[in-house]
Amino acid sequence: MSVEEMNPGDQGKGRGAPPGYPVVDALDARDDLDLGAARSVSETGDVRFAQWVEPEIEVLLRVAHSLTGSWADAEDVVQDTLIRAYRAIDGFDGRHPRAWLLTILRRTHLNSLRRTRPDLVEDASLERRRPAFGRASVVSPEDVLDERLLDGDIEVALQALDPRFRTVVLLVDVNGLTYAEAAELLDVPVGTVMSRLSRGRTRLRKSLRSRRPRSRRAARDRPGATTEGAGHRPGHDQEEKR
């Protein structure tokens, strides 16, 4: 699934290119990522790396945070991603650097999961997953979101979401990825991103509504800064039926 296939508005750039990013496939082996081995990249590659990859580092870090739930883990994943990207830069044609990097990031993340949580990840996880809701037989990055970052109503509501919905909301609404970029990262079709996004948002609106039933401006306040005192927050059940 290439970005071009998913994005009909972007024709013209993608003629004749093979789908997917075969360059990345070559990196799948669990190699040790030492810097020395990367030194065969051309000088043009160095320039491209500076031009295409480095401006994306902050986005990569934020996205990795959405996947791992921790800044330390995010940094590790981005480090490995940068090394892999550097090695592959000579074979990359420069179209959609962010989508290309997100693909590398996903694989890097899965590899690191395989190292640290082998119980959760099977080899099958790198195969194309069928976009069926909640029926994936293997663990994907979005299943392993961290539970630590809770504060404020919206974070609580996010945490209560099905991980599949939550990850898409984090990637698109929080990190600002396009549908196509999120699709690339999660290895699902754009239509799946859209339907997960829609369901996730609907559930969030419902749960935020039930938390702050009458304050019209509440959602704009800082999470946690509700007008209701903590002592007499109404029960959710009765608020649900309004």
Binding site: M6, N7, G9, D10, L35, A38, V41, E43, G45, D46, V47, F49, A50, Q51, V53, E54, I57, E58, L61, R62, H65, W71, A74, E75, V78, Q79, L82, I83, Y86, L149, I154, E155, V169, V172, D173, V174, N175, G176, T178, Y179, A180, V190, M194, L197, S198, R201, L204, R205, L208, R209, A219, R220, R222, P223
Partner: protein, 87 residues
């Protein structure tokens, strides 16, 4: 309100707000959504609620500040990878 239009519009509110390149609404659809929301309280309220959620989620991104030291380390690593004097 015309229920068919309501249904039609409510299914396009996300795309209307997102304007994502993968799912752009035609300008005719954009006008139709806007005309409908201007006269339908339910859809107007729906739209407003979706906007508030977007803002709250955006806020979250701003609050989740990336560690500047972490970014610095990554930038330095990238520079080291490609070697000096390239960029």
């Amino acid at each position: 309100m015309n229920l068919t239009t309501c249904w039609w519009a409510s299914r396009r509110l996300d795309r209307y707000l997102d304007g994502d390149p993968s799912a752009v609404l035609s300008s005719a659809d954009v006008r139709r959504v806007e005309r409908h929301a201007a006269t339908c309280r339910r859809c107007a309220g729906d739209l407003a609620e979706r906007r508030r959620l977007r803002e709250a989620l955006r806020d979250l991104d701003a609050r989740r500040i990336t560690d500047p030291a972490s970014l610095e380390r990554l930038d330095a690593m990238a520079a080291q990878l490609r070697g000096p004097g390239t960029a």
